[in-house]
């Protein structure tokens, strides 16, 4: 059975790209797309996804703030941050400290992505 994923990204194109990549991987199904942190919180509550892929940089409530809010609602939320600003260490570090399972950077490498997602379901 495929795993339910919520994509949080302000860019329509980027969300579509992620949906395509997850489709290519199989085993994952994007059940919702939120364009900002506030929407993400709402959709998380209504869709109960097993995994959240969240862009770090977004307008309104940014990824870090949204991560904090999501983990407050559900401390066991499985969130992987997506960064198009590779190497911005401090934000990635903050996300990991807060409880993000991992940070993946763009452009995506399919095989690396597969490993990161699989491990997110193994690791505590």
């Amino acid at each position: 059975m495929s795993r339910k994923v919520l994509v949080v990204d302000d860019s329509l194109a980027s969300a579509r790209q992620l949906t395509k990549v997850l489709g290519d991987l199989g085993d994952y199904q994007v059940v919702g797309h939120a364009r900002n942190g506030a929407e993400a919180v709402k959709l998380y509550k209504s869709l109960s996804p097993e995994l959240v892929l969240m862009d770090i940089i977004m307008p309104m409530m940014d990824g870090i703030q949204s991560l904090r809010t999501l983990l407050k609602i559900d401390p066991a939320a499985r969130v992987i941050m997506v960064s198009s600003v590779g190497g911005v260490g401090s934000q990635a570090e903050e996300a990991l400290r807060l409880g993000a399972r991992n940070v993946i950077s763009k452009p995506f490498d399919l095989e690396r992505m597969r490993q990161v997602l699989e491990k997110a379901f193994e690791a505590k």
Binding site: V85, L96, K106
Partner: protein, 287 residues
């Protein structure tokens, strides 16, 4: 993947856990003293002077030591002494992980080799010819080079870059869309990529993973913005690896390809493609 720090690479590959990485980063922070801290410890500068230099750094690209010397707070010899100490005593992330027992020497060696091979794809080359007396030359060089590399990698488009020059008017060719991203720093730099409709659709098709000919205008525009964001994000990462912190603004659609205007310098890098038209220019404020 893109440009990454070694720590991000290790965690993305799950070689270390996030807790182990954080512990190693904390050890690095504790051991690798900042220039200002060392200057105070050695009695070369007062804490107030350090604060003043930190404040000044917000509006300049100069490094702490160079700024302190320029302000007459430190002699060049003392600045060199601190730099040498920092260089000789710097604890690398791999060393920190080793010391904490979170990685073995064999694994570290193997991962470093893979990391370096991957990152070599993004290494900025010096071949792009730049106009003379150009401020922020490093930023422009990295951005031009990454534009070329990511066009090939992400969109499958081969781009040839001609020598940069000061723009003297509007570009040749028909452009469908111009997207700008601002970099903080001194001078403030705006990266502007203009694309013809063929290129816009091609970029969108590659990013979306399907033919974008029938996609909405908003989706195509969004894909070009996403591409621009990727180039500029990787440029910021390349600069961060050189120790220069710059931030980028979200990409915005511009009403037209920017033309020369008073109060800023406009530098253009002609980009040649076999089909369609591309223009890359940088606006340098107050330069």
């Amino acid at each position: 993947m893109g440009i990454q720090f070694f720590g991000e690479f290790l965690i993305e590959r799950w070689v270390v856990t996030r807790g182990q990485l954080i512990e190693a980063l904390e050890l690095q922070e504790y051991r690798n003293l900042k220039f200002g801290e060392l200057a105070v410890r050695r009695g070369f500068m007062t804490p107030d002077q350090v604060r003043e230099v930190n404040e000044l750094q917000r509006s300049t690209d100069l490094r702490f030591g160079d700024l302190a010397v320029a302000k007459g707070m430190l002699t060049p010899e003392k600045a060199r002494e601190i730099l040498t100490y920092q260089k000789n005593n710097y604890l690398m992330l791999g060393e920190a992980l080793l010391e904490l027992g979170h990685i073995s020497e064999d694994v570290l060696e193997r991962e470093l080799a893979i990391f370096q091979e991957e990152q070599a794809r993004y290494r900025v080359v010096e071949e792009v010819a730049m106009p003379e007396a150009l401020p922020a030359a490093e930023l422009l060089r990295a951005a031009v080079d990454l534009t070329r590399k990511l066009f090939l990698r992400v969109a499958g488009i081969t781009v040839k870059v001609a020598a940069g020059r000061d723009a003297d008017g509007a570009p040749e060719g028909e452009f469908h869309l111009s997207v700008g991203v601002r970099f903080t720093g001194s001078p403030q730099v705006q990266y502007v990529l203009s694309v013809s409709s063929e290129i816009a659709v091609e970029v969108a098709s590659r990013i979306l993973g399907q033919d974008a000919t029938r996609e909405s205008e908003e989706m195509v525009e969004d894909a070009v913005k996403e591409f621009t964001n990727l180039v500029c994000g990787n440029t910021a990462a390349a600069l961060a690896q050189q120790g220069k912190d710059v931030e980028i603004s979200p990409p915005e659609t511009l009403p037209a390809v920017p033309a020369p205007a008073p109060g800023s310098r406009l530098v253009v890098f002609p980009l040649h493609v076999t089909e369609g038209a591309l223009d890359l220019r940088f606006r340098l404020e107050d330069a």
